[in-house]
């Protein structure tokens, strides 16, 4: 049976083991702490997508025509309605449609986008969001419902 003195001597001979264990414990505590922080940070940092707002357009698009609303422009492209966002992806200004040139232009910094929302020129880097459109009235269309997300 080892005496207390013998045990203390052994610890004195192998101090590295104690230090290692103490450090390992600290590392485990840190890892556990960060393991708990990560889900918390992910949880708090996540912004759920906004609930879509449904907007009813009670007009019918002419062939190749367009309808301007506050948040989007509805285009008829090959007999299909496409709703393109009017919010510029550069700094958020409201885009206007230049009918002659067939492009959406930002009045603030002159970014340009096609009718399909693709970025053509200017400081904006991203394409415009396209919103889902549903026709009202089946074969005899009376309007559209646009889901703005």
């Amino acid at each position: 049976m080892k005496t207390v003195t013998q045990k203390a001597e052994k610890d004195l001979v192998r101090p590295g083991r104690r230090v290692f264990l103490a450090n390992a414990e600290l590392v485990v505590k840190f890892l556990a702490f960060f393991a708990l922080l990560l889900p918390l940070a992910r949880f708090l940092g996540f912004t759920p997508p906004a609930k879509p707002k449904f907007f009813e357009v009670n007009k019918v698009l002419k062939e190749g025509g367009f309808i301007i609303e506050a948040d989007f422009i509805l285009f008829d492209i090959a007999n299909e309605p496409i709703a393109v966002s009017r919010t510029c992806t550069h700094l958020g200004c409201k885009l206007n449609y230049h009918e002659l040139e067939g492009v959406l232009i930002c009045p603030c910094h002159k970014s340009q986008f096609g009718k399909d929302g693709k970025r053509l020129a200017g400081p904006a880097r991203l394409d415009l969001p396209i919103f889902t459109v549903e026709k009202i009235g089946g074969t005899d269309i009376t309007g559209y419902i646009v889901a703005i997300s």
Binding site: H90, G92, I105
Partner: protein
């Protein structure tokens, strides 16, 4: 040059600010932040004397900021070309150079962008085509600041989430109080009387009676919106430079250079030349924007 340096530009600016605050308080009693553009429209069109109070608030604020810039230019001229504090020229008594000199100048330099923000939030509250666009642009620039952008936006603008609430609070109270805190040490020494600045008061009143404060309705056929005059250069810069560089770092550099010049400890000449270069660059962008 002496008349320019010794001109009481600060006092004139302060009198214009008094007019701005008083007319702003009158406007605030009618302004409805839940329907900001409608409210501005009704003020302009149907509220008795609404157009006058709007004009008075708009032009007195413009006078305040322009005269503040002239005051700043006079201070810089005195310090750089005459190597003397402007207070020495006017009071004939030496200015004590205490340990708080750096803090004093830092507060005064910071008061310039805060005054600019006061003016700018007024533009946003108009909520017309220019105001709405300016607000959204400012919000997006602030959000682009790494780490603290979202927090700063929630304190300063937050238009997309809470409409005009935060901007209104800042325009009416927050920025005014902060500006007052920054300039308190500077202003408490001076007494500015209306009588001695009657010319400025008359000028602001006459201009407000003759000219109408701008308001631009939204229109689908508009392909160019020009920002407030002091941000036309920034607007032009944003076409070619990333928002955080054009909207934060470049203006921040101007403040650093200004602080270095007014503090006058070291590298003053380099900072002064840097400041002049900064102004030239900004003016070039402004002129390009003006004639677009």
């Amino acid at each position: 040059m002496k008349w320019f340096v010794e001109g009481k530009w600060g006092a004139k600016s302060l009198v214009a600010l008094y007019l701005s605050v008083l007319s702003g308080l009158v406007l605030a009693l009618q302004y409805d932040l839940s329907v900001p553009f409608y409210s501005t429209g009704t003020l302009e069109l149907i509220v008795p004397f609404g157009a006058f109070w709007r004009s008075l608030h708009f032009f007195s604020s413009q006078f305040f900021f322009l005269l503040l810039l002239v005051h700043l230019a006079a201070v810089l001229t005195a310090r750089y070309f005459y190597q003397v504090d402007k207070a020495v020229l006017s009071s004939k008594t030496p200015v004590k150079n205490t340990g708080k000199d750096g803090e004093r100048w830092l507060k005064l330099v910071l008061s310039v962008p805060v005054a600019l923000l006061l003016l700018f939030t007024g533009y946003i509250l108009r909520a017309d085509a220019t105001g709405a666009s300016a607000g959204i642009i400012a919000e997006n620039i602030i959000v682009s600041i790494p780490l603290v952008g979202n927090w700063l936006n929630s304190v300063l603008f937050n238009i997309s989430s809470s409409g005009m609430k935060v901007v209104y609070a800042n325009h009416l109270i927050g920025l005014g109080v902060f500006w007052g805190y920054l300039v308190w040490e500077h202003l408490r020494k001076y007494r500015v009387s209306w009588r001695n600045n009657g010319l400025v008061v008359m000028l602001v009143l006459v201009v407000s009676l003759i000219w109408v404060a701008p308001i631009e309705p939204f229109s689908p056929g508009v392909f160019h919106i020009s920002g407030p005059w002091f941000f036309i250069g920034l607007q032009e810069m944003l076409r070619i430079v990333q928002p955080v560089w054009a909207g934060i770092i470049f203006p921040g550099l101007a403040l650093l250079l200004l602080y270095q010049v007014v503090r006058g400890r070291q590298y003053t000449s380099i900072a002064f030349m840097g400041g002049v270069l900064w102004c030239v660059i900004y003016l070039v962008f402004t002129f390009v924007g003006l004639f677009r």
